[in-house]
């Protein structure tokens, strides 16, 4: 069942998403930054761990998950920042028929702008890293199922820290602990796949976390925005 408050009138929700995509397109140069950051972090692990091939292969899924998590966290601050600076956020809070619906669309736009390209990059890198087919598909499936939580919960943090000086670090401190369950189940799924055991329960947990976040996070984000702007 869809929550009725989330269903903004169709033209409004379309306009919000269209605006986000247009802004993304106009700033497309910045779109490449999270994937680059992700690759850099992933490349740092072998330097720190050393040349042991077995160890590297065993740790590869975990390093991918950690890199995606960090790259995503870095981009959270931008979700509401420019809207707050130019006054668009006040307009959204005042004018939107359904603020939680608008917040859900903001989270969707963030997912499309950051985690989605990262997953594409992870797919590319896992073929370079010569992972087994099972491990690779488990990695990608777990990322697709788990990263919506990053965007949805991240939107709450972004709303709570909008307009705060040095908000980026505060945001990371607030949000990273909340990402732990996703990391546990995500990395767990990949580990199970490597050991050729069942991965179903991890997938279900990740999907469940995503659904939970999609149901609750937009309302928390809307409440956070109202509180920050008052």
């Amino acid at each position: 069942m869809l929550n009725p408050a989330l269903v903004a009138p169709r033209p409004a929700s379309f306009a919000i998403l269209r605006r986000e995509m247009l802004r993304l397109y106009r700033r497309r140069g910045q779109l490449i930054q999270p994937p680059l950051f992700f690759v850099l972090v992933a490349v740092l692990f072998p330097f720190a761990i050393g040349g042991d091939e077995h160890l590297l292969r065993a740790l590869a899924p975990a390093t991918v998950w950690i890199s995606v998590l960090l790259a995503t966290t870095l981009s959270l601050e931008d979700i509401f920042r420019s809207d707050q600076e130019d006054g668009s956020l006040e307009q959204l809070v005042l004018m939107a028929k359904s603020l939680p619906g608008a917040c859900a669309l903001k989270a969707l736009a963030h997912w499309l702008s950051t985690p989605a390209p990262l997953i594409a990059m992870a797919a590319l890198m896992s073929s370079v890293h010569d992972l087994e087919a099972d491990t690779r598909s488990a990695l990608l499936i777990s990322l697709v199922l788990g990263t919506p939580v990053f965007s949805l919960v991240g939107t709450i943090g972004s709303a709570l820290t909008v307009g705060v000086r040095g908000g980026a670090l505060l945001l990371a401190l607030l949000i990273l602990p909340l990402y732990i369950p996703v990391l546990i189940f995500g990395a767990g799924a990949v580990r199970n796949a490597t050991l050729s055991t069942a991965t179903g329960s991890e997938y279900f947990f990740l999907a469940g976390l995503s659904v939970l976040a999609a149901t609750l996070a937009p309302f928390a984000t809307a409440a956070g925005l109202r509180a920050r702007l008052s």
């Binding site: 130019d86 028929k97 702007l229």
Partner: protein
């Protein structure tokens, strides 16, 4: 002629605290339909805070704001009839003028009371419909905000320093728009220091320094 109009917006003994600082207290005034209220006052006297409270963005620390006798917090009707124009007018620099206006219309979901082209023509920005908002001068940005007032139907206009950076023609345009708005029973609250060319019958002033409404 307008004295007979019933009170539409009633501000009852509101107080504004910011942290420990008292910005204003015991502020009461009422506005009937068909009036422009010019809000005067020194910097820091609480003009912006008052407008934000009237918009519902902020809540008074004491007192009530009533719209036709109903607290604005609980009045869905009030929010459907409101346009708030802050000092940051609320357009994205990376969208064009037309994209910004169409988005403003769409999120309000109230329909349009004019076509975008006509609104842009009226504010003198026809040539700039495809220009990125970030490339406009500050006066032109204010004009885009005026175009929004022409587009989005609203009975209550809350305008914070709308004359900033507007040239003489822009100021006359806003005065003309304000007059048209109140003649069709609209209400406008305008925070500005410049004298407004509005006939006295339509104009009331609220001085935040002396706390007098007349």
């Amino acid at each position: 002629m307008h004295a007979a109009n019933p009170i539409a917006l009633d501000v009852v003994d509101i107080e504004c605290l910011r942290g420990d600082a008292l910005i204003f207290e015991h502020l009461s005034f009422s506005v009937s339909a068909g009036r422009v209220v010019q809000i005067l006052g020194a910097n820091g006297s609480g003009k912006t805070s008052l407008l934000r409270m009237l918009s519902g963005l902020a809540t008074p620390t004491a007192g009530d704001i009533l719209w036709h006798g109903e607290p604005i917090r609980e009045s869905a009707r009030f929010h459907e009839q409101l346009i708030y124009q802050g000092i940051s007018v609320g357009f994205s620099v990376s969208l064009t003028v037309r994209e910004n206006l169409e988005y403003a219309l769409a999120i309000a979901a109230r329909g349009a009371q004019a076509s975008t082209a006509r609104a842009l023509a009226r504010v003198g920005l026809t040539r700039y419909h495809g220009t990125l908002f970030g490339r406009l001068s500050s006066g032109q940005r204010q004009r885009v905000a005026l175009a929004r007032l022409l587009l989005v139907p609203a009975q209550i206009w809350l305008l914070d320093e709308p004359l900033t950076a507007l040239d003489r023609a822009g100021k006359e345009l806003l005065e003309e728009m304000l007059l048209g708005h109140v003649e069709s029973s609209g209400i406008a609250l305008v925070a500005t220091h410049q004298p407004l060319g509005i006939p006295p019958g339509y104009l009331q002033t609220l001085d935040m320094d002396r706390r007098t409404a007349c």
